[in-house]
C-alpha cells in the first residue's frame, strides 16, 4: 500500500523520546505539507504505546508501532527488520532519522537492504525539482523530491544530494539542527500496529550493560562550543565561559589541563582522551593548544582562539585570533552580541 507519507524514525530510551525525533517531526510536518501527504512516526520499544499522544502533539498523523518486550533495547537486526518491513508495506516517500549512535547504526543498514539512497548529517531538508541531465530520453525532470543538504569535505563545501530514482528518500539529521515545533496536545492520530513475527536468527545480540547518564553535557552534537583551558585560572572564572556559552546557546567544553586542575568535570573534556567535537563554531578561551586537544577540535567549522600569549599554538589552527585577557575579551563579546540582537 503506497502511502507516500513522510516518516520519522522515533528514538526512545526507557520510554523517553529523544529530542532529535521531536525536532524531526516538526521538519517532517513542513515537508509533508508541501507534498500534501501525512506524517508517519515509526515507534519501536517495550510498553511505549503511551508515547503516541506526544508524537501526535509534535506533528505525527500516524504512529507505526512495534511494541513488544523483544524490543526493550535497540539492537541492530530486529529493529532494522521492523523498519524495512514497515517501509516495504507502506511505501513512504521520505524517511528521516536522528543522526545519533542509534540512527547512524540503523539507517545505513535499512538503506542497504532497500537499495535506496541515504545522506548522513543533513543540515537542511527541502522539497524541490531536479533535472537529471543527459539520460536517454534527454533531460529528465523529477518533481518535488527531497533536497538533502549537508556539509562535506571537512565542512569546506555544502552539497545538495538527491535520490531521484529510489524510494524512500532517506536522511539523517543531527540533534539541534531542526527546530522543535510547539506541541499541540489536542491533535489526534491513528496507531498502526506491526504484528509480524520476527525470525529467531535476528536475536543474536544481548545488551549486557547499559550506562547512560541523563544528558548534562552534550558536546558531540553541539553546534557551538565555548571551551576553557588552564588560562581561565580557576573554577570561579569558568563562570565567564558559562556566561558566553549561555548567551550563544552553546555547550561548555574544556581542555584536559583545566579538567585535571579541577576547574570543571571530565564530561566537558574535549580532545583525544575526551570528546572529539566538530561544531560549527569552537571558541577556545585560555587554551594553549596541546596536540591532544587540537586533535579533538581542529575539525570545527570555525575556531576563535582567545589567549593572552600571542605565540600559543592554538592560533595555528584558529580562523580568528584575539590576543587579550579573557576577563576583558569575553564581556566585550557578550556585549557585542546583545547589542546586535537588539
Amino acid at each position: 500500500m503506497k502511502t507516500n507519507e513522510v516518516w520519522v524514525y522515533i528514538e526512545q530510551n526507557n520510554g523517553k523520546i529523544a529530542d532529535v525525533s521531536l525536532e524531526l517531526l516538526g521538519k517532517a510536518t513542513e515537508l509533508a505539507k508541501k507534498l500534501n501527504v501525512k506524517v508517519g512516526a515509526i515507534l519501536i520499544g517495550n510498553n511505549v504505546k503511551d508515547l503516541c499522544d506526544k508524537l501526535y502533539a509534535y506533528g505525527a498523523d500516524k504512529v507505526y508501532l512495534a511494541d513488544s518486550e523483544k524490543f526493550k533495547y535497540y539492537t541492530t537486526l530486529p529493529y532494522s527488520y521492523v523498519v524495512v518491513n514497515l517501509i516495504k508495506q507502506y511505501e513512504p516517500q521520505i524517511v528521516i532519522y536522528g543522526a545519533t549512535t542509534t540512527g547512524r547504526d540503523l539507517a545505513p543498514r535499512v538503506a542497504s537492504e532497500l537499495r535506496t539512497g541515504l545522506t548522513a548529517d543533513c543540515t537542511d531538508l527541502q522539497i524541490g525539482d531536479y533535472i537529471k541531465p543527459s539520460t536517454k530520453e534527454g533531460d529528465k525532470l523529477y518533481k518535488d523530491i527531497l533536497y538533502q543538504i549537508r556539509p562535506a569535505f571537512g565542512g569546506n563545501i555544502i552539497a545538495t544530494i538527491v535520490s531521484p530514482d529510489h524510494r524512500p528518500q532517506m536522511a539523517t539529521v543531527r540533534e539541534g539542527v531542526m527546530k522543535m515545533k510547539e506541541p499541540d496536545f489536542s491533535r489526534k492520530g491513528e496507531i498502526i500496529e506491526f504484528k509480524n513475527d520476527l525470525p529467531n536468527h535476528l536475536f543474536i545480540t544481548q545488551i549486557l550493560k547499559k550506562v547512560q547518564r541523563e544528558k548534562t553535557v552534550d558536546l558531540k552534537s553541539a553546534s557551538i562550543i565555548v571551551s576553557g583551558g588552564m588560562g581561565v585560572g580557576s573554577k570561579e572564572n569558568f563562570k565567564l565561559i558559562y556566561d558566553l556559552a549561555h548567551i550563544l546557546g552553546a555547550q561548555v567544553g574544556a581542555s584536559r589541563a583545566a579538567v585535571d586542575a579541577g576547574f570543571i568535570s571530565k564530561d566537558h573534556q574535549v580532545g583525544q582522551t575526551g570528546t572529539t567535537v566538530r561544531p560549527k563554531l569552537y571558541i577556545a578561551v585560555g587554551i594553549s593548544g596541546q596536540i591532544q586537544h587540537l586533535a579533538g577540535m581542529s575539525e570545527s567549522g570555525r575556531i576563535i582562539a582567545i589567549n593572552n600569549d600571542p605565540n600559543a599554538p592554538i592560533f595555528n589552527v584558529a580562523h580568528y585570533g584575539i590576543v587579550g585577557d579573557l576577563n576583558d575579551v569575553i564581556p566585550k563579546m557578550i556585549e557585542a552580541y546583545k547589542a546586535i540582537k537588539k
Binding site: P108, I158, T273, E299, G321
Partner: protein, 286 residues
Amino acid sequence: MIVLVKQVPDTKNVTGKAMKEDGTINRQALPAIFNPEDLNALEEALKIKETHGGKVTVITMGPPNAAQVLRESLYRGADDVILLTDRAFAGADTLATSYVLSQAIKKLGKFDIIFCGRQAIDGDTAQVGPQTAEKLGINQVTFVDKILELHRDYIVVERSIEGGYEQIKTKLPVLLTITAEANIPRPPSVKRLLAYRKALTPLELENLDEDYIRAYEINPSNSKIKVWGYQDIGCSIENCGFAGSPTKVKQIESVVLTAKEMKKIENTKEAITALMKELMAEHIIG
C-alpha cells in the same frame, strides 16, 4: 580478520596552497592520508592477531595510488593487502562502495571479524560499515570503543552511545566500526617498512624506469599488493560506481573560508562587534 580502509584527502589541514583563486578547495592539492580511524581499526585487528592469532587482510577501494595506504598497512603488520580499483568503481556513493567491498570479501571466503573505522574524514557518513555488513548478511556493532572479550563464536564489546556506553555480546562473524578512542595506532615498523616499501602495483611499476626496478630488485610477480577490478570479484556493473549509486550530487557550493590562515581580531569593541556580526551573517551563531 578483514580490515576495510580508505585513503582520504587530509581535510584537516587545508592550507592556503590548497585554495583556488575563487576561495574554493583544490582537492588535488590536499595530501592523501590514511583515514585516521581506519588506523584504529587496523590496530584492533593487529592486537587480536597478537593475542589470538589469525591473519589480517586489509582491503581498500580507490584510485591506483590508494596502494599507499596498503603499503602503510603492511608496514604496521598486515598479512595481505588488496586494492580494488577499476574505472567502473568511480563515482560510488556509500551503497555502491559497500557492494564492491562485500563482493571482494565474498571472494576471500571465511572470516570472523571485519573492522572498519567509524567514519572517514572526507565524507563523515559512517555508512559503508553497516551497509557492507548488510550486504554480507552479518551483524554489525558500530562506534566500538573497546573489545572486552573474544571467544570462538562470540565477542563482547563496548559501544559508545549518547551520554554513556553499552556492553554488547554478539555472535561471530560480525562487522565492527572502531572509534578513535579505542587505541593509539602503532607506528610503522622499520623492519617491515624496509621489507615492503617495494611492494608496488603493476601500474606503479609501469611508471618506474627499468634501471630503478633492477637496482631495487623489484619483482612484480611477488608483489604483496593484489589488485582486483570489477570482473575479478564478480560485480555486476550496474551496481558499481556512479551507476550503482542511488544518491546524486545536485549541486556543490564551496564554503569560502580562510582556513588556517588566521584572521587577527583586535581586542577592541569595534573589531569584536564586527566579528560577531560576520558570524551571525553566516548563520554560524543565531
